[in-house]
Subunit: 207 residues, 2 copies
DNA sequence: GAAAATAGTGAGTCGCCACTCACCTTGTCA
DNA sequence: TGACAAGGTGAGTGGCGACTCACTATTTTC
């Protein structure tokens, strides 16, 4: 018999985050950076091999860190969503109540043009990609922004969060089109924002 | 020497639409019907083999009629666009000027939920799929509808066709999401339509 | 009703891509 | 510094999907 491996089961069995070796940590971030770049350009259909090349590692290394391509996609999506959520929270804390929602909306649409993957995956609601709480967190943050805008009376009171999210995702997808430039974006968003604003007093909204 | 084939070159050389054999004509429409169904359900990524199965023909037959998958996609897209364009023209001729644009907009968004391919391909502006004049024809028809709506003063005069098209395509993509139901659709479109309506007189639109 | 043209068939080819694994390299720790 | 576990490597595997082609079947034509 051979002596058992020297890892005594702490607690009962689970929850050991495992410290990574130095080179592994470095490669992991390289892979994530490369993946974000590659998938931003080519969409989720880009190949894992291209990610490996861009990161300067062998393809086996990518799969050691992320067992499936889906895991890799989920990882960069979570990171992107986290950043977006932070962005929204900052606007919610510091920004002008009257412009916060519109600022974020415009910013996200502008970025979408460069990040196909976010849009594709958000739109597909992850056909297998588990984004867990990340999407919910973003929604809640946008919800706060919306509530403030409504309190400041720059957005109609009867507008709900889910249609704002629907408009946001839709417009982001729109931004991927050929022919979408800064001017078209400005005019398109102007229509959406006008639709969100309250009808001036004394004017019942016609439906 | 052998006698030359008995097809004398009419005109100079080109423009012979060639009558198809009876079975070929039948199969061609079967394939188109099957393709529309298959690609509507699964999007453009669905396989050509599935189209062949659904049509009840061998895969070689599909490729005889449409040398590449792209050709097949272009064919069904042109047909769909033609139908949409007809639809718009009908509304333009018969319908109420005040509601025509909104009616068409809502109708197309509702249909999108069931027709992934249209939306995907329109959005990608055909990465290789040549739709020729079909898109232009639809745009012109919608443009006429827009002009009428503006003359009837139900749409702001400064709204241009390209942002209407951008909003249309964006919203159609939105309709593909999980969670998109009739109620969400109604509220989302309400925002877009409110944004298109003129600001009530005496109220300068704030930007 | 037979020849000739046209169409249908489906096993097979080819390339792409996600994923594996036996072996080598490097970091870590005593 | 040496031993060993953790990590890296990249040729190889398997599956899928677009597309081909030698052969057979059906129309059309005379």
């Amino acid at each position: 018999m051979i002596a058992p491996p020297p890892r005594p089961p702490v607690g009962s069995s689970s929850d050991a985050p495992k410290p990574l070796r130095a080179d592994a940590r470095r490669n992991r971030t390289r892979i994530l950076d490369a993946a974000e770049a590659v998938f931003s350009e080519g969409g989720a259909a880009a190949s894992t091999e291209e990610v490996a090349n861009r990161a300067g590692v062998a393809i086996g290394t990518v799969f050691r860190h992320f067992p499936t391509k889906t895991d890799l996609l989920a990882a960069i999506m979570k990171e992107l969503l986290r950043r977006l959520t932070d962005d929204v929270r900052t606007l919610d804390n510091d920004g002008d109540a009257a412009t916060g929602l519109f600022t974020f909306f415009a910013r996200m649409v502008a970025e979408s043009a460069a990040k196909r993957t976010v849009v594709q995956l958000l739109a597909d609601a992850g056909v297998g990609v588990d984004l867990g709480d990340s999407v919910r967190a973003l929604q809640e943050a946008v919800g706060a922004l919306l509530a403030r805008a409504q309190r400041a009376d720059v957005v109609r009171a009867d507008v709900r969060l889910d249609e704002v999210m629907a408009l946001l995702v839709s417009t982001c997808q729109g931004a991927l089109h050929a022919g979408w430039d800064a001017d078209l974006q400005r005019r398109t968003l102007a229509v959406v924002f006008a639709g969100l604003r309250p009808a001036p007093e004394g004017t019942a909204s016609r439906r």
